[in-house]
């Protein structure tokens, strides 16, 4: 590590994000850093403009009393100003904490109290209202800045200040003392905390994961080198900034390589914006990819007969040879020719519609992805790859290398990462990207990270003969049926969820005789299916309780069973009975985490009566349930849910039935 002689040499080490920013402002000052669509036109901030904004903002924050070690909350969508605020906070040695914008006010209380947050940036009136609501419980929160002044004219609270006003203060201060901010930046060192992320926590209270500049920069650089990213790459910043991945792809990696990120106009315009921008580097959780495929399938079902036929023929071809072509394996000349024709008339236009025409590297992670879904994207020529990582590891642990992509593994370890396993198959990781600590929670830190620096992931898996990591399930979720055979609920749920009609599924079976499941219909896909059959329905509940729909779902479940029957270890996990839930599982009802993972324990408790009904052999069960709306009000719905049995297959007979 370089010894610090003076500010100038300290600034040259590039070991913190603010120093990287100053470097880019010098090295590629006129290259685009951030684009945002405003009033229908893409506006660009160059790196130089970005650095100017950050300097002024940091001076403003210093004037407002933000000090080294303080925490600043960001409750804001992807905007250039969010990223400027993030960096400005880091300039002063304070720590930015992004929170999910769709959280209810009460959910924000814990992080704000826990991190003793003193300053916050709120996007608009809605977020300001939430912060003001919890202000009495959070006495340390003294300053709330807001980006969008719309509707804010009447607010007279002394805590509030417009972003514009803050930056004006900062500009004046910068003019008085231009050296101050560079001095502050020079004080920053690699091991300072750079950001804090609250983990969604499928169980218990959230934990604040503290990551240092070193961890984030090291992993970002390793992955960027692995993929050969350059400052010519373009990324669409569309996922919640409170999620570590968004920070990596839209902040840490652009700061390392100098590429440009683009902020969509609003959440509804993401598809259109993506087509206009044509990102070259893309990340999407499986859920987003699934929604895109569902939309494509629905639109194809509505297309004319000739188009449908063409689509079917060429998609079959793509399924057969597309992945192999992408991996550079040998494919016969006739298939090559046909694929080239297909590329011209189907695949390229499809990639264009999806906004992926220029994608060079695409990642998916967060949850296991259905193999068919994964193959779909690869078969039409999109280099979609899986990666493995978590907040605690600064994301990058394993990445599938180009040309060696297997649907059921997440690839070998990224350079710098070591993997090992406990006897219970739990994965342990040692990496330069590991988190520093859980904030103010030494107990949890100790449990997660041992003295030698091994981090317990909680995931069960193994490394296959090619050195690729394969994850089966969460260690705590892997259970056993009453007869002792393996029960991996997530594995079953993922299989169910691959059907477009099933949005979410929860499988039960640990210590039981047989497996049963809850199913959530996909409103869009099933609604469309019903419409095409001229089947009237009044809404979600009605549709979900229809006999025809349940019959459709039964077919899906039976296909999964037929599949399972072929896997000797899991043949006993076939789903015997299921019911369709009357409402979509929702993060607002605490059934899913904010990153939309199923909270198994909570659901089992909340719907205990339904589970009992599933196992008692009843034909139907009545439910009355509370629902919570986004604004925090509650209402109730009731429905009679029908319970269906599904055919199961003896392992030998499976092939015929499928």
């Amino acid at each position: 590590m370089a010894t610090r002689v003076g500010p100038s040499s300290a600034l040259d080490t590039l070991d913190t994000f603010p120093k990287l920013l100053l470097h880019h402002a010098k090295a590629r000052g006129d290259r685009p850093a951030i684009r945002e669509k405003d009033l229908g036109i893409w506006q660009t901030w160059t790196w130089k403009r970005f650095a100017d904004e950050v300097r002024a903002l940091a001076c403003g924050l210093a004037e407002q009393g933000l000090k080294r070690g303080d925490h600043l909350a960001l409750v804001c969508d992807n905007r250039p100003r969010l990223y400027a605020m993030l960096c400005a906070t880091q300039c002063l040695g304070a720590v930015p904490v992004a929170l999910y914008q769709d959280s209810a006010a009460a959910e924000m209380t814990f992080p704000i109290q826990n991190a003793e947050i003193t300053h916050a940036l709120a996007e608009d009136q809605e977020q300001v209202d939430k912060l003001l609501e919890i202000l009495p419980q959070c006495p340390k929160l003294r300053h709330i800045y807001y980006d969008d002044p719309r509707g804010m004219r009447h607010y007279k609270q002394p805590e509030l200040m417009a972003y514009e006003r803050l930056i004006e203060l900062g500009r004046a201060s910068f003019r008085r003392d231009p050296a101050f901010i560079e001095g502050e930046i020079a004080k920053g060192v690699a091991d300072d905390p750079a950001a804090m992320f609250f983990t969604s926590g499928t169980t218990g209270v959230p934990k604040g994961v503290v990551l240092t500049h070193h961890a984030l920069i090291d992993r970002s650089r390793a992955a960027a080198e692995f993929e050969g990213l350059t400052d010519r790459d373009v990324v669409l910043a569309y996922l919640p900034p409170a999620w570590i991945g968004q920070n990596i792809f839209s902040y840490a990696q652009p700061f390392v390589t100098g590429y440009c990120i683009c902020c969509p106009e609003s959440a509804e315009t993401v598809m259109v914006d993506m087509r206009e921008i044509g990102p070259s580097y893309y990340f999407a959780p499986p859920r987003v990819l699934e929604n895109l495929l569902t939309q494509v399938s629905i639109r194809m079902e509505d297309a004319g007969a000739v188009k449908r036929w063409l689509y079917r023929v060429f998609m079959n071809l793509a399924q057969r040879v597309g992945g192999a072509l992408l991996d550079g394996q040998s494919v016969g000349p006739l298939d090559r020719l046909l694929y080239a024709i297909g590329d011209f008339i189907i695949y390229a236009p499809l990639r264009n519609v999806l906004g992926m025409g220029r994608v060079r590297v695409a990642y998916t992670a967060g949850e296991a992805i259905g193999p068919d879904l994964f193959k779909f994207y690869r078969s039409i020529g999109i280099n979609l790859k899986q990666l493995y990582g978590s907040t605690e590891t600064s994301v990058f642990v394993c990445i599938q290398p180009n040309g060696q992509v297997k649907a059921d593994t997440v690839g070998p370890a990224v350079p710098g990462v070591e993997l090992k396993f406990t006897p219970q198959r739990e994965l342990l990781i040692r990496s330069p990207g590991l988190f520093k600590e859980y904030y103010k929670n030494p107990q949890a830190t100790l449990e997660a990270k041992d003295a030698e620096g091994w981090f317990r992931t909680g995931d069960a898996g193994y490394v296959d003969p090619d050195g690729h990591l394969k994850i089966i399930d969460r260690v705590k979720d892997v259970g056993a049926l009453a007869d002792g055979t393996l029960f991996a609920p997530k594995y079953l749920e993922n299989k169910l969820k691959f059907f477009p009609y099933i949005q979410e599924a929860v499988a039960f079976g640990d210590k039981r005789e047989e497996v049963c499941a809850f199913i959530n219909i996909d409103m869009e896909a099933v609604g469309n299916w019903a419409e095409r059959r001229n089947m009237p329905y009044s809404g979600y509940v009605d549709l979900a309780t229809r006999d025809e729909v349940n019959e459709l779902l039964r077919e899906c479940v039976e296909k999964v069973n037929a599949d399972l029957a072929q896997e000797p270890e899991l043949a006993n996990s076939q789903i015997h009975r299921f019911l369709t839930l009357h409402k979509a599982l929702d993060a607002d009802d605490e059934e899913l985490t904010r990153t939309r993972k199923v909270r198994r324990g909570f659901i089992a408790e909340k719907y205990a009566t339904l589970i009992d009904a599933l196992y008692s052999g009843k034909e139907s069960v009545h439910i009355e349930a509370k629902v919570r709306y986004e604004d925090g009000r509650t209402g109730s719905i009731s429905a009679d849910l029908k319970i269906r049995g599904a055919k199961t297959f003896p392992p030998a007979a499976a092939k015929k039935a499928a």
């Binding site: 009033l39 229908g40 036109i41 509707g151 004219r153 009447h154 106009e265 609003s266 509804e268 315009t269 259109v272």
Partner: protein, 269 residues
């Protein structure tokens, strides 16, 4: 539904009488649509016209808009009276409107539809526009900017380039409001802006109407069936029944007005 209107001091306090209707009577053949109706609309206020079916509400709006010409009575805008005003003159004087059954160009995009609202403000001639040359080009930039501000204000960025015919009903209503707003009107006439909407769409629409009034200071005259909506967002309400005015006052006064209760509201609550 709770949309609180005057929680805060208004940016544009209700001012002088802007538009007054004096003893207006309108008949079609033997049918008296309006009989001797008088009321006024003050600057920056939200004024509702309510009444049972066939009470003459839409006729009243059409009179204000210059579509119908009353046989008797006067309409004054800022004290100046108008006879036989035609609708494009009304538009030129700053009166814009939306329609009960949406009147948009279904095959055109949202953006183009809203741009038509700027028509009266275009100064360059047909040839210049066709060639997109000189002043026409500069002018279009200004108009596009104005339209984008309205799109941003009403939060319809995601459908900017979608043909209107493909949009759901609630959004089409919003696009119609956007087109009317693009004309930067002094007075906005809304003919049942919330008809056929679900609760959520109604709440959105209420918020937008109040935002328009608050932000641009636009005077709003609206016809509405939904009593809850009317009582929540209006400053003053006129009640018509069989073409006659039977009540006029604040929502509270209207709630307590026996004639209105008998004709329309049922019981107070």
């Amino acid at each position: 539904m709770s949309v609180a209107l005057h929680q805060h001091p208004r940016a544009h306090p209700v001012g002088e009488v802007l538009l007054s209707v004096e003893n207006v009577s309108l008949s079609f053949g033997g049918v008296n649509a309006l009989t001797d109706v008088s009321f006024d609309v003050r600057e920056h206020e939200v004024r509702a016209i309510i009444g049972p079916n066939g009470a003459g509400k839409s006729s009243m709006l059409n009179v204000l808009n210059g579509v119908y010409h009353p046989q008797k009575g006067t309409i004054r805008l800022r004290g100046k009276s108008f006879h036989d005003m035609v609708s494009h003159e009304a538009a030129a004087m700053g009166i814009a409107r939306t329609f009960q059954n949406i009147a948009l160009f279904k095959g055109m995009t949202v953006l183009d539809n809203i741009l038509t609202g700027r028509n009266l403000k275009m100064r360059s001639n047909f040839l210049q526009q066709a060639l997109w040359w000189g002043p026409a080009r500069r002018e279009e930039l200004v108009h596009r900017h104005a339209v984008e501000e309205v799109i941003d204000f009403l939060e319809i960025q995601h459908v900017r380039k979608t043909p209107v015919g493909r949009l759901p009903y609630g959004l089409q209503k919003r696009v119609e409001l956007a087109r009317a707003l693009a004309a930067e009107p002094k007075i906005l006439l809304l003919d049942e802006p919330m008809a056929g909407m679900n609760l959520e769409e109604k709440q959105d629409m209420c918020r937008f109407i109040l935002d328009v009034n608050d932000h641009y200071g636009t005077t709003i005259v609206l016809i509405e069936h939904d009593m809850g909506v009317v009582m929540d967002i209006s400053d003053r309400v006129v009640v018509l029944d069989y073409g006659r005015k039977i009540g006029d006052g604040t929502p509270e006064e209207i709630r307590g007005n026996q004639a209105v209760i008998d004709a329309y509201l049922g019981v107070t609550h």
